[in-house]
């Protein structure tokens, strides 16, 4: 393909801009970071950033889109319910944890800069959350259909399931760690067991 090499180089530049912009936004905030700061740190011309992204707002949207919807998305997998609900939901829980915890820094940025970031970019964070909710509720709906679990409001249950991970993500966002609960496969399994069987 003609110009293939140039496209590749362009994409490397794009990735570099995204990484440096995210780093600077996180450290200094969205408002206090200018395109020229980003250009300086990236060692490129300011005009290159404009050519790739248009504006600072668009650049921010691209970061959210890039980080939230692509890098960790592969963890989210559709599962067919089996007889072992706990094992299935543990898989889903681990996938969610792997998806949301690394995104805690994005969450911090959004919360801290809520008043200054372009409103319409938050849609990408919403999309990520909706995807997670859909993943859980689709699984639960199939499990209800197969008679593996009782008839519940699956959307509501999905939210109740997800909030456990959301709380942990929030702690990661604000403190860089979760002082309440260490997330790993076996601790997630404990949570899932309690969720599935209840306390009675």
């Amino acid at each position: 393909m003609k110009g293939g090499k140039r496209v590749l180089k362009g994409s490397a530049t794009r990735q570099k801009i995204l990484a440096i912009a995210f780093d600077l936004f996180s450290k200094q905030g969205f408002k206090r970071t200018s395109i020229s700061d980003i250009a300086l740190y990236a060692g490129i011309n300011e005009i290159t950033i404009y050519r790739h992204f248009g504006s600072k707002d668009d650049l921010f949207a691209a970061i959210l889109k890039d980080v939230i919807t692509s890098r960790y998305r592969k963890h989210l997998i559709d599962l067919e319910p089996t007889e072992d609900i706990v094992a299935d939901l543990t898989e889903i829980g681990v996938a969610i944890s792997n998806y949301v915890i690394p995104n805690a820094s994005i969450m911090r940025l959004i919360i801290m800069e809520f008043d200054s970031i372009p409103r319409d970019t938050i849609i990408f964070a919403d999309i990520a959350l909706i995807e997670i909710m859909n993943l859980i509720s689709k699984y639960l709906a199939k499990a209800v259909e197969k008679g593996l679990i009782k008839k519940i409001d699956v959307k509501f249950a999905a939210d109740a399931f997800f909030c456990f991970f959301y709380r942990s993500m929030t702690d990661h966002a604000f403190r860089g760690r979760d002082p309440l609960y260490r997330m790993n496969r076996s601790s997630i399994r404990n949570f899932v067991t309690l969720f599935v069987y209840g306390i009675m």
Binding site: M112, K150, D153, C163, R175, V196, Y197, I199
Partner: protein
């Protein structure tokens, strides 16, 4: 003595309103002193610095709200209604907390890291209230032997997420919808995904 504490309260009130309205950076000690009708020197004598004042204000606000709404419930044979009762009280605390929460997160850069300690102490005590309940309910044989600490964190998480949603999105908390929702959550929490509810 009484006058001193009144002055202190007045300064804190003026400071809280100023910080919420205009943010930390744009609220000067002079503005606060004027609003509280005290001399700026008095403000410094009481609090030492603007930063200290800010910390004291947040700390006091959170403690006040916690004391007002925290409900320790003695376990009964009906864990669903116990949880609803605790959940409702906690939900009200979260709603009352929105301005403080917004302030903390918006001023995260100015307040980190000591503020985070205050906030986490505050919210860990909520988790503890729930875990205590589960410990007692297990002891009395009203619920099965579960990990009470984990159950406390789980129960807490739901309300914590609501707080974040209330604080940062345009979703307005609606107390009456809140009750139904909390009842549904409590039932799911108690019976899980498998067991049918007992009437």
């Amino acid at each position: 003595m009484r006058r001193t504490s009144e002055t202190r309260d007045r300064i804190m009130k003026a400071a809280f309103e100023g910080f919420v309205e205009n943010g930390y950076d744009r609220t000067t000690t002079r503005d606060i002193a004027r609003k509280a009708e005290v001399n700026e020197v008095t403000l410094f004598r009481h609090f030492g610095s603007k930063e200290r004042l800010f910390m004291d204000v947040i700390d006091t606000k959170m403690r006040e709200q916690m004391d007002m709404y925290i409900k320790r419930v003695e376990p009964t044979e009906d864990p669903v209604s116990d949880l609803v009762e605790m959940g409702m009280a906690f939900n009200e605390a979260m709603i009352a907390n929105i301005p403080t929460m917004k302030l903390i997160t918006r001023e995260y850069k100015n307040t980190h890291p000591s503020m985070m300690k205050v906030m986490s102490d505050y919210y860990f005590s909520h988790v503890e209230v729930f875990s205590d309940y589960f410990h007692k309910a297990i002891e009395k044989g009203y619920i099965r032997k579960v990990n009470a600490d984990l159950a406390g964190i789980m129960f807490f998480s739901y309300f914590y997420k609501l707080l974040i949603v209330y604080s940062f999105r345009k979703v307005r908390p609606q107390p009456n919808i809140g009750r139904e929702q909390i009842e549904e959550y409590a039932r799911l929490f108690v019976y899980g995904l498998l067991r049918e509810e007992q009437q």
